[in-house]
């Protein structure tokens, strides 16, 4: 579960990107985060992966107390979150297989484990036949699927996609969203930051709208479970290590 309690984020130049945000995202939820450029969406994703720290308030991701997170714990947090970027961020000098395997290398997975898991994830995103290809020779949609495979390969609880269809044509965009929906059904929490209103309207999912650093609307999906009351009394940082 992701929980933000009265969170503000002010950059060193004084720009308040987020102000007094209260937000709860339950496990296995699918959430769209929408808003105009500069509204604070990217800052929210940066907070979620500890690229930025909250200036004020409390923030929890599963067992991680983000507002007090020690630097050395960041890698562990990021291994529990799969990140998908608009610009894909792939190694162009590595094959599709190597790109996905790299994420497993980072967590110290055994070669036998990698050999088993990577083909499985590649077939899941429909790229098993392109395993030996290089990303720079592939279409935007395919590249984004590599990124999704990489985000998925370590079996994280949460996947955050920041404008995943920003560089992809509409046909491919739908395929990417379909893929994210399928992944959501694998008991993963999915957070999609997007400008693509068509897709947001098409899928009946929870939509959080941010403007000027504030949440201005939070529309639940019809079938989405009601957010539970936060329970942090037992969320000790030590627990995160266990």
């Amino acid at each position: 579960m992701i929980e933000l309690k009265n969170v503000s984020m002010i950059y060193p130049n004084g720009n308040a990107a987020l102000r007094n945000i209260d937000l709860t995202i339950e496990d296995n939820e699918f959430v769209f985060v929408v808003g105009q450029s500069g509204a604070g969406k990217t800052t929210l994703t940066k907070l979620l992966i500890a690229e930025e720290r909250v200036s004020d308030g409390e923030m929890y991701i599963n067992d991680f107390r983000m507002h007090r997170l020690r630097r050395y714990k960041i890698p562990k947090l990021r291994r529990s979150i799969g990140m998908v970027f608009q610009d894909f961020r792939l190694f162009d000098n590595k094959t599709v297989y190597e790109n996905v395997a790299f994420a497993m290398r980072v967590v110290g997975a055994r070669p036998s484990e990698i050999k088993k898991r990577v083909p499985h994830v590649l077939s899941l995103v429909g790229l098993a036949h392109r395993a030996k290809s290089y990303p720079d020779k592939m279409s935007g949609g395919e590249r984004q699927r590599i990124a999704i495979a990489r985000a998925l390969v370590n079996n994280p609880d949460i996947i955050i996609a920041d404008e995943p269809t920003g560089n992809i044509d509409p046909e491919m965009s739908k395929a990417i969203f379909e893929l994210l929906m399928r992944i959501n059904k694998m008991d993963k929490t999915i957070i999609v930051v997007t400008h693509d209103h068509n897709m947001v309207n098409y899928y009946n999912k929870r939509v959080i709208k941010i403007e000027n650093g504030h949440i201005v609307s939070d529309t639940p999906a019809k079938a989405a479970p009601a957010p539970a009351e936060p329970e942090h009394a037992d969320k000790e940082e030590e627990g995160a290590e266990q």
Partner: protein, 324 residues
């Protein structure tokens, strides 16, 4: 097993990194080689200068001249006084005396004492004059030899002037006239000063060259890292620890450092044996040490500089990129 896998993965990534960025790798390698060759050549030249100073004859020598014994026919009075002085002094100040030689040898810093008789001095002088020694025909080594017998004392080359003065004083206390004791304290002092100045200049220059090398290495590493910042970002986003991100770059730096050291050693060998030695051989008075004398120390120094520069350069340069 997990650690071994990761270790070999890093080694592979580090070596791949060198070939993945050939321009930056070559730039770092060339800079390191240049710095090592300049530093090494300078150090070798300085050491050879020092060795030549140390090899200079008579710098660390002292001569104690022995006055001829008073003539016996000069009269009873003078004979008596000679006897008296002999009684007063336990050392023989006119002829070879084992006790005197041993006493000098026993002095601190003295490494050798050789007695040279009047006759030996005459022969040596005659030989040194060569064909110009005709005027010595007027003299005879036994009859009217004008030269004096002497003790030739050699002291350790690292003896300082204060200790040389102490040796001189101790010999004078044995009864020898101070005027009969020759040393090269002034020359020795000057040489020590020159050596000291050269060593200081050398150390400063070496330090400056080393810092410049490090600075250039760090900058070329930084440029290399800048071109790979996205790669580092990706590593960070997928949950790589700092050490995991750093390892391939460090290995890359160390490998470049070691390869640079090997190339620099080869160039240094060529420079020293062909160029420097070739030039210096034209001056017979200057002795040049063989390269093998320096091979071990130079290999260690170059390897150390290479590894240190590679390690330090990459660790410092990468810090900025680990803040993602």
């Amino acid at each position: 097993m997990k650690l071994i896998n990761t270790f070999f993965f890093h080694i592979g990534q580090g070596i791949k990194g060198i070939f993945r960025n050939p321009i930056m790798s070559t730039a770092s390698l060339l800079v390191l080689v240049c710095c090592m060759v300049v530093t090494g050549t300078f150090a070798l030249i300085i050491d050879n200068i020092n060795k030549n100073f140390e090899a200079l004859d008579d710098v660390n020598k002292m001569i104690v001249w022995l006055d001829d014994a008073p003539e016996a026919e000069e009269g009873e009075e003078s004979g008596e006084s000679a006897e008296e002085s002999k009684e007063e002094n336990e050392y023989n100040l006119h002829e070879y005396d084992k006790k005197t030689e041993d006493a000098i040898k026993a002095l601190e810093h003295v490494v050798d004492v050789v007695f040279m008789s009047k006759q030996e001095a005459f022969e040596e002088f005659k030989q040194s004059e060569g064909s110009d020694a005709e005027f010595l025909d007027w003299f005879d080594a036994e009859e009217n030899n004008p030269l004096r017998a002497s003790y030739r004392i050699t002291f350790a080359s690292d003896t300082d002037t204060e200790n040389i003065r102490y040796i001189k004083k101790a010999i004078a206390e044995m009864g020898f006239n101070e005027e009969n004791i020759d040393e090269n304290i002034d020359l020795y002092d000057n040489l020590i000063n020159v050596k000291g100045a050269l060593t200081t200049i050398a150390l400063w220059l070496l330090a400056v060259l080393f810092v410049i090398s490090l600075f250039i290495i760090m900058n070329s590493t930084r440029l290399g890292l800048h071109s790979r910042r996205e790669e580092i970002q990706i590593m960070r986003y997928v949950g790589a620890t700092n050490s995991f991100v750093r390892a391939p770059f460090v290995i890359e730096g160390v490998v470049i450092g070691l390869v640079s050291a090997a190339i620099a050693l080869g160039i240094e060998y060529y420079l020293y044996t062909q160029v420097i030695s070739g030039v210096i051989r034209q001056y017979e008075a200057i002795v040049i040490a063989p390269f093998t004398d320096y091979l071990l120390v130079l290999s260690i120094a170059f390897a150390f500089i290479g590894v240190f520069a590679g390690l330090f350069g990459s660790v410092i340069s990468i810090r900025k990129y680990l803040k993602v």
